[in-house]
């Protein structure tokens, strides 16, 4: 769906108002309604499916594998597949790389440690079935829910020695819930003197700049980055607007975390 020049100009002007008039009637700090299902793939350790009101949808699977800690640099690997985009497109690659980096940074390795020699490696596969706006925050919500609903086999062997060559053994059917606190990524759009959270496709088309803000363990943390949401309307933004975006996320994030945890 592409908008005409007139439509874009109308949207831009109405979003510049104070308070911004968003096309779907939301207020600046309101997210679109989302629907999440978890644990629907029995062949995976954890899974989640998220769909937004505009038809964007994303499926996340978490699979675990026992690896030797010395051989692996990163214990979490994120792989992203966006329908309609090539696997090697810069967009897909940079999302996967960013998520891998953020998850490895924010999730402590001790949560995945089995013995001195072995640990679980988590493979987080993201499949974006359809996306109209920038899918990053939708993906991060799905990854959050999937990791929160991940169950790993229970360790029953008690050998914890670097010299022991045998692989750790697990209980036949008992599973332990993975106890992690994954980060959430929010996108905001800056338009005129306003910052709005979770921009829809039409809002992204006329945004001056997009800002990615990470929320982890109850506070805003790095990475924070500007992202290009369109080609046409991008301009520089006032220094204070970046701070405004961060405040917007600080205001919204606790409620989002609470909602996702209540699942």
């Amino acid at each position: 769906m592409s908008l005409s020049v007139t439509e874009k100009s109308y949207l831009h002007d109405s979003l510049c108002l104070d308070p911004p008039a968003r096309p779907d009637g939301r207020v600046a700090h309101q997210l679109r309604p989302i629907e999440i299902f978890t644990d629907f793939l029995p062949a995976c350790n954890g899974s989640a499916k998220i769909s937004a009101s505009d038809g964007s949808e994303c499926v996340v699977s978490v699979k675990a594998k026992v690896v030797e800690r010395a051989l692996e640099e990163e214990l979490i690997l994120v792989d992203v597949d966006v329908a309609g985009q090539r696997d090697d497109s810069p967009f897909v690659h940079s999302i996967a790389s960013l998520l891998t980096k953020v998850l490895n940074q924010k999730i402590h390795q001790k949560n995945l440690r089995l013995t001195q020699k072995y640990a679980f490696k988590l493979f987080v596969d993201v499949l974006v079935l359809s996306s109209k706006s920038h899918p990053l925050s939708l993906i991060s919500f799905a990854v959050y829910s999937a990791l929160k609903a991940t169950y790993l086999p229970k360790l029953i062997s008690s050998d914890d020695d670097l010299e022991v060559a045998e692989l750790p053994t697990f209980h036949d059917y008992d599973m332990v819930k993975l106890d992690v606190d994954p980060p959430l990524l929010f996108t905001t759009a800056v338009i005129g003197n306003n910052a709005v959270i979770d921009p829809a496709h039409s809002e992204s088309e006329v945004a001056c700049s997009g800002i990615l803000v990470t929320w982890s363990k109850g506070k805003v943390t790095a990475p924070i980055r500007t992202i290009g949401l369109n080609d046409e309307y991008v301009t520089g933004i006032d220094v204070t607007l970046l701070e405004k975006s961060i405040e917007l996320v600080e205001k919204t994030a606790p409620a989002v975390v609470k909602a996702l945890d209540g699942l």
Binding site: P90, F91, H93, S94, A96, S97, L98, T100, K101, S209, I211, T221, A222, P223, I224, R225, T226, I227, G228, D231, E232, V234, T235, G236, I237, D238, V239, L242, E243, I246
Partner: protein, 238 residues
Amino acid sequence: MNVADRRRILGPLNAKPLQFASADGNLQDAHLQETQSGDETLYIQQGIVTNANGSAYLEIASPTKNDQHILLLASVYGPRPTRGTFSARAALSIQFKENTLEQFTAGEVKELCNFLASVFRAVINLNRYPKSGIDIFLNLIQYVGPSGTSSLEAIIPACINAIMLALIDAGIETLDTVSAGSYKGTVISFIRNGDEIVGFWADNDFDNNGSYAVTVDKCRRHYIQNRNAMLDYIVKTK
């Protein structure tokens, strides 16, 4: 279907512009300059890639930051005609390549290119060049990070500065002289004397290195140093 662009008179494919031998043998020297920008030493040379529309070579040595050393070459090709459907604005592409050691993963390089493209989309006056493409290539010739480490945020300011100088060399219209400053892992790219941000990249928390306001202020100071060094060079050589 292979239809040539008939709306524009094009020369033969292998045509080269006329070039006259330079009258002054010492012209090269005029393009050299070493500038002290804060605690960094900057060496700038424009126009060393002859078949590109514009290029800039940048050497940055910062003895205060544990001997960080960056050699970077940016070349700009375009605006050149694109095939296919009509577009009202120029298409911008940025490629990054490490010529010697590969220190960054493919994913990190893609992230960097995406980020730089979003910065320069806001700065280049793309509306001036319909039906064209501007391709920017970055070659990182050498990068020695503080105590052997490699981090993306250390080279981003250099990338932005080098691209800006190459764009000036190519005569491509920009809204302002964009440059970037960094402070403890946060990189901010400014325009309009530090009033507006066109790019923000923070991979480390502010908490251990001061508040947001402090970070922005330090980055702005560094930006102004960098921008002044670039402008100095341009004013002196042109």
